[in-house]
């Protein structure tokens, strides 16, 4: 059949503009920190896959018995084409329309980053493949539901079930099916993700091959058929195929793997801040931060120092919320992270690093007064390094902690000159040392 006729027949063509609109909304209605960084751009373009998958599942469920609803069952029973070929047409049409919408979103997102031409484009295809899996799997699962449930019920079950599956169980081996951040220190393992895509294709194949019960008026003695096409052979075979492929998908391991360190992109002299090359767009911000660090009183800065973006030198476990747990022995390591493109997150990490390497020690955890001082200093450092000038409130939390953080924030963003701020900071350090005389002296 002509392609356009195929899509029209599967009634999938009208779905395309709707899916594209959903995809582009998902990409552009969130903040644009991803623009200018290839892996973040790819992840931003990959995230709508989850929503496209839910819609595709519902639509596949609705479409699976569409020919029957249209009264075509009897004509098609006399078809030269076996049933699986006709179903393939439907499944392939829905999958194609969904993937096309996904690709349109991808291309548009890539076009936003292209003018900045940062390094790291090779990380993009992996994330593209990562998004294919949930969409193809959803089409297969939706089609199976649609074959055995009344169409309207199947569509609702597939749509809501898809949402719940992604929201609450959307993991494979403890890893999210759709990732939300494209850290430059990680990449997508192509073998693993291709295995998942193969599993999704297998699910679609099973969806197509599973036998259906004919309408009552067309039931009769068994047609002479090929032995392999009989339900007693076909159904167990499909189940075995599914279990095997999914077991392989799980056994293949995590799809997001750590990258080997590369030549970093460093800014600053006395205080060097080194980034993953993919984070080139943050180089000017990092250079400014470095200059502000270098200008700090001697009490905070070593003669020469280097801080590394996470993954370039140290690797520790990443927490569920995406932050980095440096662990006790790693506290004070010269590592920082750029989390979701926030300069505030950079300066927060660097402020903690400076404090630990400059004056702080274990006492800050054990003595309340010492903790309060470090909270004030860290808050000031964070906002001073970010450039200050942004009066406001620290988000409410623990009132005692919030009060200390607000004091540091007010100093950085108030009317004090830089020298006056430094003077205040040195006084704070002196106060800390009076509480914890042994800390930070080594």
């Amino acid at each position: 059949m002509r392609l356009i006729g195929v899509l029209r027949h599967a009634n999938a063509l009208w779905l395309l503009p709707f899916l594209i609109a959903v995809d582009l909304s998902m990409i552009f209605l969130r903040d644009d920190h991803w623009v200018g960084v290839w892996p973040e751009t790819a992840v931003a373009a990959q995230m709508p896959a989850m929503f496209l998958a839910m819609l595709a599942a519902a639509y596949a469920a609705w479409t699976a018995r569409r020919e029957e609803r249209l009264g075509l069952a009897e004509q098609l029973e006399a078809s030269v084409r076996p049933r699986w070929q006709r179903e393939l047409l439907g499944v392939a049409s829905i999958a194609a329309v969904t993937v096309v919408a996904y690709c349109v979103g991808f291309v548009v997102a890539l076009a936003r980053t292209l003018p900045q031409s940062p390094p790291g484009f090779s990380l993009v295809p992996g994330y593209w493949l990562l998004g294919l899996f949930p969409m193809l799997a959803a089409v297969g699962a939706g089609w199976i539901l649609g074959k055995y449930l009344p169409s309207a019920i199947a569509a609702v079950v597939a749509g809501i079930g898809g949402f719940l599956a992604f929201a609450y169980f959307g993991e494979i081996g403890g890893e999210r099916i759709v990732v939300i951040s494209g850290y430059p220190d990680t990449h997508v393992d192509l073998f693993v993700v291709l295995t998942r895509v193969a599993a999704a294709v297998a699910l679609c194949a099973v969806a197509i091959l599973l036998p259906v019960r004919k309408p009552r008026s067309l039931r009769g003695a068994e047609q002479p058929s090929y032995p392999w096409a009989r339900p007693l052979v076909l159904v167990p075979a499909c189940v075995v195929v599914m279990i095997s492929v999914f077991a392989l998908g799980r056994a293949a391991g995590p799809a997001i793997a750590e990258r080997a360190a590369v030549d970093p992109l460093c800014r600053g002299d006395q205080m060097k801040l080194c980034l993953w090359p993919e984070h080139e767009k943050y180089a000017p911000v990092v250079a400014e931060i470095s200059q502000r660090v270098e200008a700090l009183p001697d009490i905070f800065v070593r003669e020469e120092d280097v801080a590394w973006e996470y993954g370039l030198r140290y690797r520790v476990d990443r927490l569920d919320d995406g932050t980095v747990d440096l662990g006790d022995e790693e506290q004070g390591s010269s590592t920082f992270e750029i989390f979701d493109g926030s300069p505030g997150a950079i300066t927060r990490e660097i402020a903690r690093m400076i404090s630990w390497r400059g004056y702080q020690g274990e006492c800050a955890r054990e003595v309340d007064e010492a903790r309060d001082v470090t909270l004030r200093i860290d808050s000031w450092l964070e906002h001073y390094l970010a450039g200050g000038g942004s009066p406001g409130q620290i988000p409410a939390g623990d009132p005692e902690v919030g009060e200390q953080l607000q004091r540091g924030f007010d100093v950085a963003n108030g009317d004090l000159s830089r020298e006056e701020q430094f003077e205040w900071a040195e006084e704070q350090v002196e106060e800390y040392r009076s509480i914890c005389p042994r800390d930070g002296q080594s």
Binding site: M1, R2, I4, G5, R8, H9, N11, E67, L70, G71, L72, A73, E74, Q75, L76, E77, A78, S79, V80, R81, R86, L218, G220, A221, E222, Q223, P224, S225, Y226
Partner: protein, 249 residues
């Protein structure tokens, strides 16, 4: 040509076709009979949708006794059920294109087959019209195109004139007459008018059996004797049914 040999068909223990042996074709063959005579079941059986409970039939001399033979037979048969379905959002051309694909017409020949068959059913100028915008008669003609595409040797039409107004029926008969020159056309009807207009062979069916098989003139000749009915053909038809009832008693 289709040849059935001792064909039986039953549904939930009830006999629908009872040992039917008949040779249909070439040309037009009308299956005439009251409602429940087994015409639709016979057509479904010949269309390979409902396998017979026993007995065999062949299409153009090929007995359907294996999956391969079944596939081959389906290439030779075009079938239009009485309540045929269509996708209202498709254009006429796409609807027939889909039929061509379903019927296994090779890709390179599909477009020419579709154009030709739309021309045959006088729908060429409506090729790009959506199915939902067609009149009842046009939809029937699109259905005929579905059955004719791919040049099948046997065309099975179940009650194709139901719901058509007199003018549409005339146009429809003209199309079927032309088809009958190239293929065996087996159509079921309970309207004697259709048989009269189309000519060809007539099989009168009742309760799953063929009560009469001959030309329309032979059937009309049976109506020369006094009987109910407005035309000789109607009287002949009624006579055949009455004779069968009398024999059964």
């Amino acid at each position: 040509m289709i040849e059935a040999c001792d064909l039986r068909q039953s549904y939930r223990g009830r006999v629908i076709i009872d040992g039917l042996s008949v040779r249909l074709g070439p040309g037009i063959v009308s299956l005439l009979g009251p409602n429940g005579a087994g015409k639709t079941t016979l057509l479904r059986t010949l269309a390979t949708i409902k396998p017979p409970t026993s007995g065999t039939f062949s299409v153009d001399g090929h007995v359907i006794d294996s999956p391969a033979a079944l596939q081959q037979a389906r290439h030779r048969i075009g079938y239009l059920p009485q309540a045929f379905g269509y996708d209202p959002s498709l254009t006429v051309q796409d609807f027939v294109h889909y039929a061509a694909w379903i019927r296994g017409v090779p890709r390179q020949q599909r477009s020419s087959h579709v154009a030709s068959v739309l021309d045959d059913v006088r729908l060429a100028e409506h090729a790009k019209t959506k199915m939902r915008k067609l009149s009842g008669g046009m939809i029937r003609r699109a259905g005929i195109a579905w059955a004719l595409v791919g040049e099948p040797a046997v065309v099975l039409l179940d009650e194709p004139t139901v719901g058509l107004d007199p003018q549409q029926r005339v146009a429809f008969r003209e199309i079927v007459s032309r088809c009958g020159q190239q293929a065996t056309v087996v159509l079921s009807t309970h309207l004697v008018d259709d048989v009269d207009a189309l000519g060809g062979d007539v099989v009168v069916m009742n309760e799953g059996r063929a009560l009469f098989h001959g030309t329309k003139d032979e059937l009309a000749a049976l109506g020369d004797a006094p009987s109910t009915g407005a035309t000789p053909l109607e009287r002949g038809y009624i006579r055949v049914l009455e004779n069968a009832e009398a024999t059964a008693i």
